[in-house]
Amino acid sequence: MPEEIIRVENVTKSFNGVEVLKDVSFSVYKGEVVAIIGASGGGKSTLLRCLNLLENPDAGHISIHGIHINDKKYDVDKLRTKIGMVFQSFNLFNHLNVLENCILAQVKVLKRKRKQAEEIARLNLGKVGLSDRVMFKASQLSGGQKQRAAIARALCMNPEIMLFDEPTSALDPEMTHEVLNTIKLLASEGMTMVIVTHEMEFAHQVATRIIKVDAGRVKENE
């Protein structure tokens, strides 16, 4: 049995009285690629955002390696370095170039030396095929390049698990392809991932498990 990384137990979350997640439970094991699918507005993104506490569940428990994290005493910042997050809208830091985007948190959070951080940044940027774009700012990149840079930025923190919140929904089909290939590369390296997506074909190709979220409930767990 592979090691359990994330366990979600009976999580409930409401926004302004509307229940978005209703008693949701599931686990993610090491090396798994879990695709979360379902209709828009069904609570997929909220569920994903609960996993690194960008949203706080109203009730229920989320555990990482058996430790309850949605507990006031838990150091959320430390947890988040272990969980990489990639957003639909990329969210590269607009005032920094690609390289600095990848270096900032390494130096400030992991306290790596700048030189070491830059090496790691260049390594990961090479991996996502952006070696020739390290000095560019976000505004000078295509959507696909932005998203790959964002993936590299998350990888620089050496996360145990990567979360993707509709990583290709803001992209043209052509660029969708290059981002999905990058995710496939990570899958082939054994990275544990949870991916919220509308790309059914991709989900079936890459995911080891597909979870369907519908109207705030986990419907299938195949």
Binding site: L54, K78, R80, L104, M135, A150, R153
Partner: protein
Amino acid sequence: MSTADRIGYLLGKYGDLFLKGVGVTLLLAVVGTGIGLLLGLGLALLRNLKPTPQDSKFKSILKIIAAGLARIYIEVFRGTPMMVQAIIIYFGGKMIGIPWTYLVCGLFVISINTTAYMAEIIRSGINGVDVGQTEASRSLGMSHLQTMAYVIFPQALKNAIPAIGNEFIVNIKDSSVLNVITVSELFMAAKIASSATYFYIESYLIIAAIYLVLTIVFSQLLKILEKKLNAPFVPKLRKVFHA
């Protein structure tokens, strides 16, 4: 004596006074805007504090109090004339034994007054930064303070540069109210020259022209600065290819 003659006479006799007035006015504007910006950054940070679900009860209450105090400060200083503030602060200070000169008190007043305006300018700059920037930063494990310092402030400041520049221009003009505590700035110079010569219109025409030149020159300089800061980034090719 024609108006031109009177202006010539005033410039000849009180030229040094006007020149010194320009110096003090610029000193007030530069120091007031500079200190106001620094303190305004801090005040904006306090004003934006909000308890999060992770905070303890004590921390939540502290945050609410700090944000409330910041808000009161901003409302009081933006809601009363600087002229009134100057008098209250100068004589209030003397009453409790602060041995300040008019100039030092003037610098103090314009600084803490500008702080209130700057806080609101910075705050709207902060609120103009996409929430995704904060989420990305927090997702990388950066704390609230680190996120503010390294991700939000640099972008908020850039957003706020036109408004900050405007505040400087406003300060060049509004420092004139500090004549009420006899700070020897430009308006005070006209006041002295006119009451000594009775050439009222001419004295104030002179300083009107000087104020106009100052504001036009500095707004042009600020425009150039804005353009420079917004210039598209051109990567150094050498670096790119050696990457």
